[in-house]
Symmetry: D2
Subunit: 339 residues, 4 copies
């Protein structure tokens, strides 16, 4: 019998992917899946793809608190409040919202337009990018799982900032995401007839993932980093491609630097060619590649992930594995679904 887990907000795409991965995990057992909209209905009535007899329930905090890990796939605000309740009960929490991602409590009101509901939690939360914070994550009780854009962007850029070979003031990020990143809710902008064969920028210049990317870049750079971030909606259900450029300050071979930095990382794949989102589909893999543009002295770097995998549920399980002392790759060794 494995560790018992709860997924709070399990009927959204991220929640359902958490269930899918947890059901296939050798050491985790999902025992609780909450959903306000579908409480009382079998999970399979909403997600016939999921091989489980679980039914969605309303949130019972005590039942959740009795689990070994609770995953929060809730809207921001509600996530922090639920995390506070569970933290008070001593339960391990992996929060997939943005609520616990910021060290500085002032970032939240500036970017989300409201006071942070639980600022006291921020000091205890560890930013859940294992490639950057693995040691702290092993001891964490509260993990702020990174956003999908930040995950791919940071994996593409961090090695170069760590090595001190780029000018942080010149970073420009353009990233395209699949539609599932916008969630299961319906509106005109996710209508199949509108999205199919369509590409559109959105959110620039004030997308909410920006401060999260900047916080981690700043942490590594040791001085404030501000970036330009342009997200694009792409006609794919899953998948996220982040590309970034920055002026090089040293003459390096970018691909070799990635190779060295990620040599021991189990989920970061270096193929020596530009990454393609399709290979990551359904997996926790992140594909990275980078080149120098000698004509302009710029780095061009890219990372492809599944926005619901390494960009959300996969990474959440990776964090849970670290928190619980499991193999970091447990339940996450499957390859991407291709074609």
């Amino acid at each position: 019998m494995g560790a018992r887990i709860a997924v709070i907000g399990a009927s959204g795409y991220t929640g359902a992917e958490l269930l899918r991965l947890a059901l296939a995990h050798p050491d985790l057992e999902p025992v609780l899946a909450t959903s306000r909209e579908f409480a009382g209905q079998p999970v399979r009535s909403v997600y016939p793809n999921l091989p489980t007899d679980l039914a969605f329930t309303t949130l019972d905090l005590d039942a959740a608190a009795s689990c070994d890990v609770v995953f929060l796939a809730l809207p921001h605000g509600a996530a922090a409040r639920t995390a506070a309740e569970l933290a008070a009960r001593g339960t391990r929490v992996v929060d997939l919202s943005a609520d616990l991602r910021f060290d500085d409590p002032e970032i939240y009101p500036a970017w989300f337009g409201e006071a942070h509901p639980e600022p006291a939690l921020l000091a205890d939360a560890v930013y859940g990018l294992p490639e950057l914070h693995r040691a702290q994550l092993r001891d964490a009780r509260l993990v702020a799982n990174p956003g999908c854009y930040p995950t791919a962007t940071l994996l593409a850029l961090l090695p170069f900032l760590e090595a001190g070979v780029i000018d942080a003031a010149t970073i420009v990020v353009t990233a395209a995401s699949g539609v599932s990143g916008a969630g299961r809710g319906v509106n005109a902008s996710v209508h199949f007839s509108h999205v199919d064969s369509n590409l559109k920028p959105y959110g620039a210049p004030i997308h909410k993932h920006t401060p999260e990317i900047e916080q981690e870049l700043t942490r590594v750079a040791g001085s404030p980093v501000a970036i330009t971030f342009l997200p694009i909606l792409a006609p794919i259900p899953r998948g996220l491609l982040a590309t970034a450029t920055a002026t090089l300050t040293s003459s390096i071979d970018p691909a070799s630097l990635l190779e060295a930095r990620y040599a021991n990382e189990p989920f970061i794949v270096r193929t020596g060619t530009w990454p393609e989102t399709k290979y990551a589909s359904g997996s926790n893999l992140a594909f990275v590649h980078a080149v120098a543009d000698p004509r302009t002295n710029r780095l061009i770097t890219a990372c492809a992930i599944d926005n619901l995998g390494k960009g959300a549920a996969g990474q959440a399980l990776q964090n849970a594995n670290l928190m619980l002392g499991f193999e970091e790759t447990a339940g996450l060794t499957g390859g991407g679904l291709y074609p």
Copy 2:
């Protein structure tokens, strides 16, 4: 250490899916993956999605024969010849080509336009639809893994023919398949710009899967069954939806009959609603549903699968599990990838 398996013809889509599933199987270990086109190259250079250090090799029959099971993902003709070599060495074989699917050796020349290369093998091969031939498959040394269209069509129709509630002379099958069913080879008809947003019938009235469907329907009906079969190419990479109609000869509730027939089948899902291919993606699941049309007294029945899953590689592993005495569902319990 699990059973050692070989995949012959591993660089096609079916071969790669066999590798993907076998790598995630708790009791199978892929030790050999052959490819004429890519021999000498790492599997990951062609399929970066696959978490393996295997390299493609040329076919060494003795090495293959030393495996516990050999999966053949070869063109027809070559498959039978290789199966004969392996059978002579006493090795268990699951052949994914059409070569061994027919009891009657005359069917092959009639539909494939050439003499069967190894007619003596036919008597020993078991048609690998576990829902129909489970007992024989447990003892089989040679399994003819069904085609994708036949798998879905038979799962949709067999319960009604077994129950004797339809007129077999009235069966009409219309089925739409994803593009991966046509293989990895390139030609104008699989160009993205041509396929995207396109639907087209093809192959009618002489698609090579027809005699295979008819053979199994005939076996169940006890008298010769001929069907009309219309395949359609759909703009999806994976997924197959078979629909069929037939005149009802008894007043029954089709959904209840499916429910009863498949109650103990681990991979056949009855949701009481029309099946959708997307829920099966990457899994070995088959979704079935049926209704009566009281105005015309016809049965309308449908089955959705992943053509590379239950329609090919998934079913091949299910058959290998049966042959090897493993749990039938071992390595195949994962849910479909959705969305």
Copy 3:
């Protein structure tokens, strides 16, 4: 200056396609485009693709009645009531709803679950399939524009029923439609993440297009025809493929019969190969093909159209051309958009 036209309900997909085609028509001038949701806003604020300075307005019946032709792209019920008002004022109307399609007023309550709001109109309305009712359409004041499924199904089947070479009691229709056929409204079933890579049957055995198909088949056959009709939702924004089978009662060459029947039809394309929806995209073309299945003595026939073209707005303009005495092909000579 061309004929002045109004589009009532212009902000849905069909209404917008009517505007697109009318704007490109040499002899039509759209002067009125109504929309309850977007009244007061420029058409381009909702459809930036449309090169017009028109703004959506609320419905002013007198303004509409002053036009040479009014196109109704309204929900059923509202369409009939508006048609009645305009008919009373003597205005030519092309109604794209199902309201005026049935000769027999009893069909409406049986299939739509409510009394027909304007049964007196039915006798005056001409079913707008020019390939069948061209002469009457030239004199019509009130045209019931056919549904998308009926258009494709009838074009595929009518020649064979007219020629008396099929058994009408054996007709089975399976047809796949693009998502725009379900309209611009949003719900979970049109979410991109759900539809993409998905195929699903729906609506069987009681889809509302069934009685319309049966009415016209019955008219041609001279005796009551009932069919089995299975619609499928396909992951394409536009396009509709209808396939049908029926038992042949004579030995004929189906392709030749289609060729002869449609030799003088400007929009019906016979290529001698199975039709593909993509070639029809954005056009008023209908591609047809048929073969005999000698093994089962069945006809297999198919027709591909753009559900918003020949299946809705294109055909509506074709009907308007006939009513107004224009060249039947005026404004509709453009080829399909491919790739």
Copy 4:
């Protein structure tokens, strides 16, 4: 009777789109369509979507030279040689290859790896971006039709460079294109099963469109401009989205500047929102938008086109209209095909 045109290399996607647009043009008559691969076959046997009785022929230079305008949709090298032959005969030519786009004959060997086959032509060729070179195009006999990426990139960037409000040394371009941009030829990278749901960078840092973009930026800036250019392949058949960033040197409102610059341009659409490729499909429209990122003092600008429309065949017709003294918008007033 309109002007007589020839399309040399008419069986590729660009050639076929030229035919489609020319057939719908009120004043052009396509009389010649050459194709080495399909010579002797009706155009409709390859493109059933095209309403024409033309057949593909081999290239007869005299016949082509007798036309009012010849469009060259040939591979590079062959294009220049054919242009030279036609220029020698005094025929107007619009070349859609890269051969005639460069003022500096040294660019060609540097980026294409071979000597320019007809360097003497370069001085006479006008770069066919009407928004920049309209006056010269009216008198041109030889037009170098811009590439798809350059068209969208230049339309997004030129107004800001002309106004002197950006630092040209900081320009970074990321652009995603539909698959038809790679042509009709087949290889593994255009297989539907590979492209669908996939995003991948390619060609960086040495894509052949780079020097063309730089030439025109340099012309406007008055001093050498080098850019970083990152192309991405997107899973759409048509459509191209170019995005660019650059450091602002003045405090301006980017959207207003675009509005003012393009106020009289018939094909450049400013909606005040981020452009979407789908609205441009099948049209000659270009949608532009731009914002300032006050946090980083950067401009973010974007342009969406149909790569086969304004990015190729549409713009070629626009140029032909200018050369022939027709209305610039003749035959190009149709809206985009949406949805």
